[in-house]
Structures are given as C-alpha cells and as structure tokens.
C-alpha cells in the first residue's frame, strides 16, 4: 500500500532562515496523523508544502505516490505547470486557522464554489450536495448566511464542508481550532472526529492534545525544523522520551 504522504529529507528555507531541516515521515491511508510542536517549529510550513502552497528546497515529497510540484524524468526534475498543480490540489482538502471563507458568498455558495468552478458540476447538483455537507457539519439552518454572520466555530465547520465538497482523498488541517473561543472548539473537533471515523486520511497540525490522544493514529513532535519524536500519540504524550518533548508537553498539558 502506497503511503498517502511520504516525506524524504524535506528542506524549506525562507531567505536565509531554514524552517524545515530534513523532515522524514509517512502517512498511511485512512490514518489521522497529528503534528505538534512549539510555534515556529515548521509544522504549518510542512503542511503547506504538502499541497504545494510552499515550494520545498530539497528532498522529496510524495502524495499518493506522486511527486508534489514536480515531475521526474530520469534524474531530472521538471516543475509542474500551474494548471497541473491545481489539478493535484483538487484531491487535497485544506482547512486554515483563519478559516479563509469567501466573505462575499453565503455558506452554501462557499461550499458550491469549487465543485461548480473547478469540476464544472451543475449548480443544482452542487447546491444539493453542499446542503448535505452543511447538514453533516451541523449547519443546515445556516446555509443562507454570510460568513460575517456566523460564529468562528460555525465558519470553521463551513470551511471543512467546503474542503469536503471536492471529495478529497487527503485533508490537511492547519491549527483548525486555534482561532476559536474555547467553548466553540468542541463542535469543530466533533466534526473532525466524525471524518476520522469515516476513514478520511487527515494530517492535523494542532495544539489540542486531547484530540491527538483520542483520535490520532500517529503523532509527530517537531521542534526547530526537525522531527524530534514520533509514534503512537498515547505513548508519546504520556511517556515522552526526549527532553524537548517533555519540556513542551509540560507546558501545554
């Protein structure tokens, strides 16, 4: 079985600052893979590399067995055209910390947008599917609302529905609950838990240790652009081996 995400020595620099210093990891299909670590550790950057929002400087990154952003012929790498990159992104859903809903569209229009514009789905079909997805995230009564009329938790659930509308094989979550009021976090995590139960492959950058322990299948602790420790979330969170992991966990748990 090919790994859904496979990273081999992934490096990424912004100018002179090296953010990722050789990341190796593998995400199996149907797995919930959690990335934790202090801010600035490179976990969000790594996540953004997976759908080529950031270009990596060295190493290899594969999604579902295919190289991200490049095509390899012989030992030469060819950059993919924008349209080819876009084609690959269709299969990778992404949920952002700041939601990034389209503010000029209602909830249902947000969810319909990509199927209609990218896949050329008929509007009526897309709308019906969008309403079902909104129902799934518990927002069927909010379909006609603009994002500014929704709470943070509701916006984030719309954003999840929007990503799901493209029927992705992989979902990336970039600190999906970090911008939310504490009492709204639960609703979003419930939706993510439901997704995990349905067998979605998920890579989740999070500070929610409870979620990681309960739902996660694997966990990686990153610090300073490298993977410090990885393994089963229950083991890593309860019995960390490295001092840096211990120090981090003692602060957040």
């Amino acid at each position: 079985m090919t790994a859904m995400v496979k990273a081999e020595g992934v490096h990424k620099s912004f100018g002179h600052i090296e953010v990722l210093k050789g990341i190796d990891l593998e995400v199996a299909p149907r797995e919930v893979f959690c990335l934790i670590g202090p801010s600035g550790s490179g976990k969000s950057t790594f996540l953004r590399c997976i759908n080529h929002l950031e270009k990596i400087n060295a190493g290899r990154l594969y999604v579902d067995g295919e190289l991200v952003g490049y095509r390899q012929r012989g030992d030469k790498l060819y950059e993919l055209k924008d349209s080819e990159v876009a084609l690959k992104r269709r299969d990778i859903g992404m949920v952002f910390q700041r939601f990034n809903l389209f503010p000029h569209m209602t909830a249902v229009e947000n969810v319909m947008e990509a199927p209609v514009q990218v896949k050329g789905e008929a509007k009526a079909v897309a709308r019906e599917r969008a309403l079902k997805l909104l129902d799934r995230v518990g927002l069927s009564d909010r379909a006609g609302n603009y994002p500014s009329q929704l709470s943070g938790g509701q916006q984030q659930r719309v954003a999840i529905a929007r990503a799901l509308a493209m029927e992705p094989k992989l979902m990336l979550f970039d600190e999906p609950t970090s911008a939310l009021d504490p009492e709204l976090v639960g609703d979003v995590l419930d939706v993510m838990r439901g997704l995990a139960e349905d067998g979605m492959t998920m890579v989740v950058v999070t500070h929610e240790m409870g979620f990681a322990r309960e739902v996660g299948d694997s966990l990686v602790f990153m610090d300073g652009g490298v993977v410090v420790e990885s393994g089963n979330p229950r083991d890593v969170l309860t019995d960390p081996q490295h001092d840096r992991t211990k120090a981090f966990l003692s602060k957040v748990l």
């Binding site: 929002l53 876009a86 084609l87 990034n100 389209f102 000029h104 569209m105 990509a114 990218v118 929007r162």
Partner: protein, 314 residues
C-alpha cells in the same frame, strides 16, 4: 482592613432594578456659536446672490436655452464620452493592475511603463497629441479589414475617447492595484487549495472583494471624468461645454451659457453621486453584518427620531 469607610463600595449600591429610575430631564447645551455661524453664512450667501442678480447678466437666457436641442445633444455626448472612456479606463485599469502584480517580469514592466507615461503627462497634452497624430501616421491600414487616411479615421470623437480612456486606465490601474492588494492573502490560498486556477481565483474570489475598495474612488473618477470631458472641446468634439460656448457666441450671451453648462454639470454629478452610493452598498454585502441604510431610510429614521422625543419625552 477597611481603611476608607466613607467611600461607597460596590456592595453599598442597591441591587439595582427596583422601580424604574426616573428618566433624565436635562436642559440641553445651547450652541450659540451655531446660530451665529448660520446667520453669517446666510448673510454672505444673500449678498453673493444679490451681487449676481444685479450684475450685467441676462438671466433669462439660461432657462430659454436650457433645453435647447444643441445643449441636449452636448449633454448626451458628454454622458456618452464619460461612459465609454470610463469603460475603457476600468477594463484597462484592471488589466494593467493584474499585469503590474503578475509574476511575469515582462508584463509587469509593460504595465509600469504605461502607467508611468500616461500618468506623467497632462491629459490635455495627450488629447492634442492624439489629434495631431496624423503627422506620424498618414494612413491607417488594418490589412483587409480597414484602410483609411488617418485624419478621416481619427474623428474628434475617437480622439476624445482614446485620449481620455487611455489616460484614465493609468489612474484606474493604481486604484485597482490597491484594491487587489487589499484582499487578504488567505483568500487566494484558500481558493488555490481548492484547485482553482489563477484566473478563476482572480475572477471569482479576489476581484469581487477588491471591488469594495475599488468602487468608492472609481465613483470619484467617474465624476472627475464627467468634468474632464470639457477639455475635449479643444479637439472639436461637440460636448456640453463646446455646444454651450457655440450658442453663447451666436446669441451674444457667452457668460450666461457658461452658467447654463455649469448647472448641467452639477445636475449630472449629483445624479452620479446617488448612483455611487447604491453601488457601494451593493459591494458591501457580506462584509458588514447589516447594510447601511439607504438615504430614504436614513431620512425616515431622522424624521422619526426628531419627532419621537416630543411624543415620548418623559
């Protein structure tokens, strides 16, 4: 422990809502300065009106010619020229702004050069240059489609349109660029992450949001353009000012006709201002929880709020 006994702490205040407290009846502050200013302003205005009414101006000539067919034609031409040159300006401006922001160094330099040139020279000079371009190009030859002498091809209308439109595009480009840059980068990322192309992202996500920033200054530009069309009289295009001047020359009431033109310009800019308000309201959708009231709603609200204190006054 308690040091300051006299101080009424929070526990001393009664657990409020007993019988409703008495509503405040206070004498409002009198703004004597406002009355004085109003009197002075009215006096000044009156003296100006009197001065003008006693001047050697044949006021009767204005209503006489107000709806003269030539004037109406001029008004129509002014509006037509404003509309078309703004259309060129807006389309060109968006195009230039996108070019300027593109990663492609060739297109962004071309846009930079265009803006540099057209913004850096006076529009009046540009109009005259367009008018005299026949010195450079004697003929226009578009292969099998069109072939003519330049002077026949470059009518006053086309000169005016190109002169104003291309100049406006340079200004609109800067307005549009500001608008595009004002849209949060997360929006582009989100739509790219959904698999949308650059073009789709621009058209569906970025431009609609940029419009909220672009529309108010564009409204300004339209109003400006409407007035700038008066420059076009120098290239023989018969817009409002030129028609008014022509009538003035023949009827012997040149100044009166200038007043007439000014009134028409005022009427048109006023109508445009109202249109601009509604357009801004349309593009505010989704960005604020509730839309601002229309002028009509606002007038109604003010009338009621003025009336209410009298009725309700405690």
């Amino acid at each position: 422990m308690t040091v300051d006994i006299d101080k009424t702490g929070p526990e001393d205040t009664p657990p409020t809502p007993k019988a409703g407290p008495e509503a405040i009846k206070a004498i409002p502050v009198r703004h004597y300065g406002r009355y004085v200013a109003a009197v002075v302003a009215i006096a000044l205005l009156a003296s100006i009106v009197v001065a003008f009414s006693q001047g050697k101006i044949n006021w009767g000539a204005i209503p006489e010619n107000f709806f003269d067919p030539r004037i109406l034609e001029g008004v129509g031409n002014t509006l037509l020229l404003t509309g078309l040159s703004m259309a060129i300006g807006i389309v060109g401006g968006i195009l230039l702004a996108v070019m300027r922001l593109s990663k492609n160094p060739v297109t962004s330099s071309i846009a930079w050069f265009y803006i540099w040139f057209f913004r850096g020279t006076p529009v009046l000079v540009q109009l005259i240059v367009w008018f005299n371009l026949g010195l450079v190009f004697e003929f226009i030859n578009l292969g099998p489609f069109y072939k003519n002498e330049w002077s026949d091809f470059m009518t006053p209308f086309l000169t005016a349109l190109l002169g104003l439109g291309l100049n406006e595009a340079a200004y609109m480009a800067e307005i549009c660029r500001a608008g595009l840059l004002a849209v949060d980068e997360g929006q582009t990322e989100a739509s790219h992450a959904l698999g949308m192309s650059h073009a789709k992202t621009l058209r569906r996500v970025v431009i609609p949001q940029a419009m909220r920033v672009i529309v108010p200054p564009t409204g300004n530009e339209v109003i400006n353009m409407l007035k700038t069309t008066s420059l076009v009289s120098v290239v023989q295009y018969s817009e409002l000012l030129r028609q008014a001047q022509d009538i003035g020359q023949t009827s012997g009431a040149p100044v009166e006709m200038l007043f007439l033109a000014a009134s028409w310009y005022l009427i048109m800019t006023s109508v445009l201002s109202v249109g601009q308000y509604y357009l801004e309201r349309y593009y505010a959708r989704g960005s604020s929880r509730s839309l601002p009231p229309t002028p009509l709603q606002r007038i109604r609200a003010t009338v009621f709020s003025v009336r209410r204190p009298k009725g309700v006054a405690a």
